[in-house]
């Protein structure tokens, strides 16, 4: 039998490196992201495992050295090892990222759930409130806040957390409404379950489910916001190796010691990218299992 084969449309080029699956269907991007995030988590929890040096130890004789085998990321203006500082800075940066996102989601959950479940009045009131908060761009709110309360990890967390909360709140409200109107909530009511039981068993867990993905996305963004504050001189106090502070300090040396600006920047980008791509992966996974 003579068979002719044709492939309609344009030939499909499959790039194995990008779409190949490892570990049973998990995309490479997700694996790399997890590895990168794991690195940062280790850096945050046990920086000593990744570097033997002291992030604060100055060596005035070795200031502004370019990256080398001794100093992988070079040294800063006080002769401190930049790699060590980036590793040690992970803790505060991650703390800001997680703290701000956690705070934002905490506020958002209360507002969003109240709006989604409360009556028309509560919903209207909270929606108006969110509208007001939305009118305050994150950076503006954070700026007002930090200028007045002084720069520190806490104020950064609160500032960025407050700034990003309304977005999450609106999302959670939508989610709560969707779940509340869903078939399975109707079915649960149909079975005679009490209101509270339905809330506890169905509405809360399902409305909060997509947040896992959102949190990973939010952490990276919060760190980026915080670094914006550092740029405005509202960052964490020196000599903290918090990444935003490193970026801010590195800026003036950009023409003489590029590594001071580039390396911490790459750390932020790597973390944000890894978090985003893992978040996306989780999102598609969760959405896939949603009806």
């Amino acid at each position: 039998m003579s068979t002719t084969t044709f492939t309609p449309g344009k030939p499909e080029v499959t790039a194995r490196t990008f779409t190949a699956s490892l570990l049973g269907g998990v995309p490479v991007a997700a694996v790399i992201s997890t590895v990168v995030l794991a690195f940062f988590v280790i850096a945050a929890l046990a920086p000593r495992l990744l570097t033997g040096a002291d992030p604060l130890a100055i060596d005035l004789g070795a200031a502004l050295q370019a990256p080398s085998s001794d100093h992988w990321f070079g040294t800063d203006q006080s002769g401190r090892d930049l790699y060590t500082r980036v590793v040690y800075g992970t803790r505060e940066s991650l703390l800001i990222g997680l703290g701000a996102t956690g705070l934002a989601i905490g506020i958002a959950a209360v507002l969003g759930v109240t709006a989604g479940l409360g009556g028309r009045f509560a919903d209207g009131l909270i929606n108006r409130g969110l509208e007001v908060l939305f009118a305050f761009p994150v950076l503006l709110l954070a700026m007002l806040f930090v200028t007045i309360y002084g720069p520190s990890v806490t104020t950064q967390i609160v500032a960025v957390g407050l700034g990003t909360a309304p977005g999450y709140a609106r999302m959670i409200r939508g989610q709560v409404l969707a779940v509340r109107n869903s078939g399975y909530v109707e079915a649960a009511h149909g079975l005679g379950h009490s209101r509270w039981q339905v809330l506890r068993q169905h509405v809360f867990p399902n409305a909060m489910r997509p947040l896992i993905a959102v949190v990973t996305l939010g952490v990276g963004q919060s760190i980026v916001w915080a670094s914006g504050l550092a740029f405005l001189g509202l960052g964490v106090a020196p000599p903290s190796p918090e990444w935003g502070a490193l970026l801010d300090a590195g800026r003036m040396f950009i023409t003489k010691a590029w590594w001071l600006e580039v390396m911490p920047g790459l750390a932020i980008v790597a973390l944000a990218l890894a978090a985003t791509s893992l978040g996306r992966h989780l999102q598609t996974k969760l959405e896939g299992s949603q009806p």
């Binding site: 100055i58 990256p67 790699y83 020196p238 000599p239 003036m252 590029w258 580039v262 790459l266 990218l273």
Partner: protein, 556 residues
């Protein structure tokens, strides 16, 4: 992507990752670091003088008003206002609006003879009455810094005739003329002061100077236009008569990289505050002038009424604990000099150089002093403790508003160094709002505070170290150190008959303050200008380091 794995366990992937990181970082670095080979617009010309033209000068900070009591405002008002006298680099006083002057035997009456026939740019005659009006304006709250300098001494002033002004003081004040030479003391048209709105006087004060304020594009630049009728340059100017250039566009470029970049790319003819990182490059390619600002250097004022620094031994130990010269040299890449004298800077007439060497880096001495002071225990981290309390020092500094990034680096270096002797330093960068709203002005808010105070004379000691009493408060005394004996020496110096005598007494006061270690010197406040070699004769005046464009001209 950028994470280096520990070298002892290289896997194939980490190698690949590393290679990628190295490659991308290298690519970036090439793009970022190619700056050294910048072609400058400084090409060799004939060197002949050209009349006219516009000098594009880029400055760091943009204040809210042209005239005021902040040094940033003096930078601007120096371009449009003339003062009575001018101070030269060696500290002597020369004629400016005042041709000559004399002081009475009791040092209480100063008589100034003004140059005749002068006018403000609004046509108001610049006579003795106008100057007297300015004294009254200052005294009435027109300029708080003027009040800080002469408020306690000034008594009254009057015009004897059109060109003769008499100023009466309540006490003899040796640095009076020197004080008058500062930009804060620029003489403005009384008509303008009276008839115009606050906003107008803020934005475009009317004086008799070489330039007038043209358009102020907020956030960008101020244009200073030539005063064609100008004929009252100070004696130390390089020429009399109107300025050579048509105008100066004074732009504000806060970002160091951009500011220097604008000079390198030819977008600016001159820049102020040459960034330390670019200082060597600037010196190689441009004309660089640096001025060490007189007055109080950038020093740590130690809080002598609350916290560990109430004990003089702890203060002294702190001063011994750090190699402050190394700290400063490293942070400023050797561009800004270390200043060991915490009360008066090296370029100030009356500076006592011995004091600068009082507290060399000496860990042993520091340890002995701390032991003596009772800080004998050490915590797990190595911090000294006394009665269970850690030897913790909270240093407040106004990052960006008062202290530059280099200064912050110096503090960080210091912080690390003093760890060895058991000090635990916490750095508190304060925002401008916190700082100026007085949140860090009270004794309970800091252990040490970093700051400076410009002044063309050592009488700054009077401002900073006069006693702070309930009857006569002195909030500028940031150490809260009250010592009647030292105040007495300072007062004597202020009232000395000759400058030499005054300076000797000022030197004595510096020594006494140094013995008490109330202020630990770090570095000198500086101002600098880098200019394209095509532009000649920009100079930095000696009272505060403001660039003067009156004599500047372009060459072919």
């Amino acid at each position: 992507m950028k994470n280096r794995q520990p070298a002892y366990q290289p896997t194939s992937r980490s190698k690949a990752v590393k290679a990628g990181a190295v490659a991308s970082a290298a690519a970036l670095s090439l793009l970022l670091a190619a700056c050294g080979g910048q072609t400058t617009s400084a090409e060799a010309g004939t060197g002949e003088k050209v009349d006219g033209g516009t000098i594009r000068y880029a400055h760091l900070q943009e204040p809210a008003c042209v005239y005021g009591g902040w040094i940033q405002q003096a930078f601007l008002s120096r371009q449009v206002l003339d003062s009575l006298v001018s101070q030269t680099e060696d500290g002597s006083i020369v004629a400016w609006l005042a041709e000559k002057w004399k002081v009475s035997e009791d040092q209480l009456t100063w008589t100034f003879t003004l140059k005749p026939g002068l006018e403000f740019t609004d046509g108001t005659p610049l006579d003795a009455q106008a100057v007297s009006d300015n004294f009254e304006f200052w005294q009435g709250g027109g300029n708080g810094t003027v009040q800080a300098h002469i408020g306690d001494y000034y008594s009254s002033s009057r015009a004897i005739d059109a060109t003769t002004l008499e100023v009466k003081l309540s006490e003899p004040f040796a640095p009076f003329l020197s004080a008058l030479s500062q930009g804060y003391f620029g003489i403005q048209s009384p008509t303008a002061l009276e008839s115009r709105s606050e906003a107008e006087n803020c934005e475009s004060p009317i004086g008799s100077g070489p330039f007038t304020v043209g358009e102020w594009k907020r956030g960008q630049s101020i244009t200073f236009n030539r005063n064609d009728a100008y004929n009252s340059a100070p004696q130390n100017a390089k020429h009399q008569g109107p300025a050579y250039v048509d105008s100066v566009v004074w732009s504000f470029i806060q970002d160091n990289t951009s500011r220097f970049g604008s000079l390198a790319s030819g977008e600016s003819d001159a820049i102020g505050e040459v960034p330390t990182v670019d200082f060597d490059t600037a010196k190689a390619q441009f004309d660089v002038q640096q001025f060490l600002t007189p007055g109080r250097p950038v020093t740590l004022s130690l809080n002598t009424v609350e916290g560990p620094f109430t004990d003089v031994k702890v203060r002294q130990a702190f001063a011994y604990s750090a190699d402050r010269k190394a700290v400063v040299d490293s942070a400023f890449l050797g561009v800004v000099p270390f200043e060991g004298n915490g009360t008066v800077s090296s370029s100030t007439p009356g500076y006592n150089p011995d004091v600068a060497a009082d507290y060399p880096f000496d860990v042993e001495k520091a340890n002995v002093l701390l032991d003596e002071a009772g800080w004998t225990e050490r915590s797990a981290e190595g911090t000294r403790t006394k009665d269970g309390k850690e030897l913790e020092i909270k240093i407040v500094f106004g990052l960006n508003s008062i202290v530059t990034a280099e200064g912050a680096t110096a503090l960080q270096n210091l912080q690390e160094q003093v760890k060895a002797t058991g000090f635990k330093v916490t750095l508190v960068p304060a925002t401008q709002a916190e700082l100026f709203s007085g949140q860090f002005s009270t004794p309970d808010s800091y252990d040490a505070q970093l700051g400076y105070w410009t002044s063309p004379h050592a009488g700054i000691l009077y401002i900073n170290f006069r006693q702070n009493t309930e009857k006569k408060p002195n909030p500028a005394n940031t150490t809260f150190y009250n010592n009647a004996k030292i105040e007495d020496v300072i007062l004597k110096a202020n009232s000395a008959k000759t400058t030499a005598e005054a300076n000797k007494l000022y030197g004595e006061a510096q020594q006494l303050l140094s013995d008490e270690a109330v202020a630990v010197g770090l570095y000198t406040q500086t101002s600098s200008v880098a200019s394209n070699p095509k532009v000649k004769d920009i100079w930095l005046e000696a009272s505060q380091g403001e660039p003067v464009f009156h004599d500047a001209y372009f060459t072919e």
